[in-house]
Amino acid sequence: MEFDAITVALFLAAGVRLAVPVVLAALGETLSERAGVFTIGLEGIMLFGAVASAVGLARTGSPVGALAIGAAGGLVAAMVLALGTVLARANQIVMGIGFNLAALGVSSLIRQLALVDGGPLPSLRPVTRMEIPGLADIPVLGRAFFLQSPVFYLTVLVAVLFWWLLRFTRIGLVLRATGESAAAADSAGVPVLQVRFWAAAVTGLMAGLGGAYLCIVASGGTFVDNMTAGRGYLAIAIAIFARWRPLGVLLVGFVLGLMEALQFQGQYFGLGIPTPLLMAAPFVVALIAWVVMGRAGTAPGDLGKPFLRGSAQ
């Protein structure tokens, strides 16, 4: 076993890199689930974000622009999804499954139509690495946390923002009330459908950025069919595992990122675990957590239920 500083730093850094897309999506999911909307379509939204960013990169040549276009793609996809689940009260799970299936096809179609020429990619340096002066020099931790993609810093900021928003602001109170009991929130004058719609839309913005990160930062700007490979579902599990708390999502996501990183660094550490089993580990951990939590989970009361004024819920 080798546990020198550089190896550990590289391992932590890899964990952070792998965690970012899933944490972004899970933060989004946290918001919409707090508002009562189960976004099973997260996987499909991430795919749209990824393919939109790839097209954006090919068209604009700007990696920052590509990330923004990816986030916008996720936003639009989520708004379409929310039209169905929030406004038209479609069954959120059934709709999500259909949406993910269609998204798989549509994103691959977009790739084949809009990404035919394989020209040279622009330098992705501006979005893959940004050094925080001073902090980056801290031994071990500096390399791991302060020599990362700017998207990672943004992710941490958003997690703190969401924590503050949910905990200390009126918007957060309204959001939580909507998810806890839509009928009660409604009688208190909260525009339930608007709150849910916009919460779902922001979820799309986050998941879209997560997909864009996957494509632009993690995969060098190349979109591969079904490149999310279940990360959207994992993000849902993380949101639940963290009990719908943004800072918890950050922590859980990072731990799962480390487990995924073991597949690259595990051999170096002398671990003899085959890669596929390491890849399965986050899902196993999420499942165990889900079970351990059991009924004690403080789930939003109206999670997954459509809101219809005057109907018995």
Binding site: I97, L101, G105, L109, G230
Partner: protein, 352 residues
């Protein structure tokens, strides 16, 4: 001149909505083909020929139908009983692994291998489905999440097996050794891919319909799905219902994977499914959780996939069209049924 009296067949609204959803998604599919610059007069005959043109095309359609139908049947048994089993994909993966186990354990034992492989596939699917059922009974863990997560665990377990323990020595491919003839489902129509699993799947559909409709078990199952409280008041053990429905559900889902191995791939291959489980779920919902309806819907899904392959090989139209045409009707159906709940109230406002 008086018009001849027309006999009106009452079509239930749910069926009308479903047919509308299919029609809508097909129109969108045609629009996509047109957008790709292929004239519909060229594309339509290719698509129809590809799905139904001759015995081979028809057999392909039925072979594509089979796993989707089986996953749908598995899903609807559980969902009818109140267990939201989203784990069809994982149960299918486990069934595929299960189909290989007797061969790996006993070697080439001739014709006995086939029934053993079928049984083992069903058993592995059932065991995989029992895990979330037990977790629900033991800890109250909601099965929607646990079945969803177990899909991915199964996918990686299969990946691990074909990369390591099940990979024949000296092979560089991520696949197992080929099943011997005794383990392969017989081809029913020479020159096509039509295998015995297709007929078995259709038989299971009829059996599922019969059990749900005409047996005491089916009645209890549907009752517990509709009102768990009613069942408890009747003194029925809800736990046993959950376990048996999930075991049956997983066994049927497992058969989907076993038949893919024994009738199509002849070996275990990493990534053989590419989301068959989720498509099967879509089939179950589109069919309104009805076994015989699932036959029709999965036949449609099979035809779409055959047609997409023909369109790809002859006219270079991306095969992703098949996924779009499978996903779209369920999106449309979900939205329309949601609006239907509103009973004429405006969508953007919840006031009565």
């Amino acid at each position: 001149m008086a018009a001849a009296p027309v006999t009106r067949i009452a079509i239930p609204p749910a069926v009308k909505i479903t047919l509308g959803a299919f029609a809508g998604s097909l129109l969108l599919g045609l629009a996509i083909i047109a957008l790709l610059g292929v004239s519909l007069s060229r594309a339509l005959p290719v698509a129809l020929d590809g799905a139904f043109g001759d015995a081979r095309a028809l057999a392909d359609t039925l072979v594509f139908m089979t796993p989707r139908l089986l996953v749908a049947l598995g899903a609807l048994v559980a969902i009818r009983g109140g267990m939201f089993n989203l784990g069809g994909e994982g149960q299918l993966q486990m069934g595929a692994i299960g189909a290989m186990l007797p061969f790996l354990a006993f070697g080439d034992i001739g014709p006995a291998l086939m029934p053993l492989a079928i049984l083992s596939g069903a058993l592995c699917g059932a065991i995989w489905a029992l895990v979330p059922a037990l977790l629900k009974l033991w800890r109250g863990a909601d099965e929607i999440i646990s079945t969803l997560l177990m899909n991915f665990i199964a996918i990686y377990v299969l990946k691990y097996l074909v990369q390591g323990p099940m990979r024949p020595e000296g092979s560089n491919f991520n696949m197992s050794a080929q099943l011997p003839d005794g383990g392969i489902l017989p081809v029913l129509l020479p020159g096509t891919r039509l295998h015995l699993g297709v007929v078995l799947a259709l038989a299971i559909a009829v059996a599922t319909w019969f059990v749900l409709r005409h047996t005491a078990f089916g009645l209890r199952l549907r009752a517990s799905g509709q009102s768990p409280r009613f069942v408890r008041l009747q003194g029925q053990p809800a736990g046993r219902m959950i376990l048996s429905s999930m075991a049956i559900s997983g066994a049927i889902g497992g058969l989907a994977g076993a038949f893919e191995v024994m009738g199509v791939q002849y070996r275990l291959i990493d990534g053989f499914s590419s989301g068959l489980g989720f498509e099967g779920l879509a089939v179950a919902f589109l069919a309104g959780l009805d076994p015989l309806g699932s036959v029709l819907v999965s036949l449609y899904f099979g035809a779409i996939n055959s047609a997409a392959l023909a369109l790809q090989s002859t006219l270079s139209i991306p095969a992703a069209l098949a996924e779009i045409l499978s996903g779209l009707p369920i999106v449309i159906l979900a939205v329309v049924s949601g609006i239907y709940l509103l009973k004429g109230r405006p969508v953007w406002n919840s006031t009565q």
